[in-house]
């Protein structure tokens, strides 16, 4: 829903790092997005193509690495990827915590 402001943040970070490394052009960006971060890849790509125009990042390819949700049971310690029901499949406890899936970061980029 807020992919435009999020995409602006990605561009800001990318251009800042490009300047620091004296790059003329950004060709590829490597993004890590957790399943629970409620960000839609296609929507980010759509805004990217518009807002990166006339910047050193114009035409850069976005690569999305999706991180599946991982939960850990606070009762028995079992770790699992939830399917529908969030409770622990081993002991059925409802006391669980999220250990992966909330990521949302720019890991690296290729520049020329």
């Amino acid at each position: 829903m807020h992919e435009l402001s999020v995409t602006e943040s990605i561009l800001e970070i990318a251009l800042r790092h490009a300047q620091e490394s004296n790059a003329k052009r950004i060709t590829d960006l490597y993004l890590v997005i957790g399943q629970l971060s409620s960000i839609v890849d296609d929507s980010v790509q759509f805004y990217w193509d518009i807002i990166s125009k006339d910047t050193p990042a114009e035409g850069a390819q976005l690569h999305f690495q999706r991180i599946p949700a991982r939960l850990a049971c606070l009762e028995c310690g079992h770790e699992y990827s939830p399917e529908g029901d969030l409770s622990c499949p081993a002991c059925h406890s409802a006391r669980v915590k999220v250990i992966a899936g909330k990521e949302f970061r720019l890991d690296a980029m290729d520049v020329e």
Partner: protein, 222 residues
């Protein structure tokens, strides 16, 4: 010649940095700030209207209202007795962010208040991703929304410090499986402080307000 540049930067880090600035600024002024989040119609503004008169004489309160358009909510807060009420119109954005709150803080003499109530845009998804720099996140749920909301909006339910369950006066008229609701809450946010109440009848409001006043006092005596 292409080369790989390592970055590893959180995409919302710019917002997080500003949120931290807001937090420090509020702390320096001794102003305790609460971020009220909920779906549209859950009763955020009604909760503010019912909370304000119960604080008269004990706390000086400012309200910041976020909406896509209109100043209806700030007007209601002012009418209910807020010493200051500021409306932020997001112009289409689905959430408040740290920059918007910063601009609202610029319009207030922060030292003149004890409590700042920030009413976020009605939305159960986006506000959870954008820290504002407030000290307490309150989620207002309500009976007519249905008992499946924790299961469907895990981000919002897992991030709340306090859960308010509004409109409990409607329980006799609506199918709402309290066990199913509580099970979802318990998975996402074990042991979260919960206040069932009704802004219409007033039931449960004193318990919420007493708890809030204690929180503000504890904050100010740090």
């Amino acid at each position: 010649m292409a080369k790989r540049v390592a970055i590893v930067e959180n995409i919302l880090s710019a917002n997080d940095r500003l949120a931290q600035e807001n937090r420090l600024r509020l702390a320096a002024a001794g102003l305790f700030a609460v971020n009220l989040m909920a779906s549209p119609g859950a009763g955020k503004t009604s909760l503010i209207e019912q909370t304000l008169p119960r604080l008269t004489g004990s706390l000086r309160v400012a309200v910041v209202d976020g909406d896509i358009a209109t100043s209806l909510d700030a007007d209601r807060a002012a009418a209910a007795g807020a010493q200051a009420a500021i409306q932020i119109n997001t112009g289409g954005d689905c959430h408040l962010d740290a920059v918007m709150l910063q601009k609202a803080l610029d319009q207030l003499e922060l030292e003149e208040f004890d409590l700042l109530l920030v009413e976020n845009v009605g939305n159960l998804v986006c506000p959870a991703s954008f820290s504002l720099g407030t000290h307490l996140s309150v989620l207002v749920a309500s009976i007519p929304e249905g008992d499946d909301k924790p299961h469907k909006y895990p981000g919002m339910y897992s991030g709340a410090d306090v859960l308010i369950l509004n409109k409990i006066d409607l329980l006799p008229y609506i199918t709402f499986r309290m066990d199913f609701f509580k099970q979802g809450v318990e998975i996402l946010n074990p042991g979260v402080v919960t206040f069932p109440l009704s802004c219409r009848t007033g039931e449960g409001l004193d318990q919420w307000v007493d708890w809030l006043v204690e929180k503000v006092k504890a904050f100010k005596s740090r």
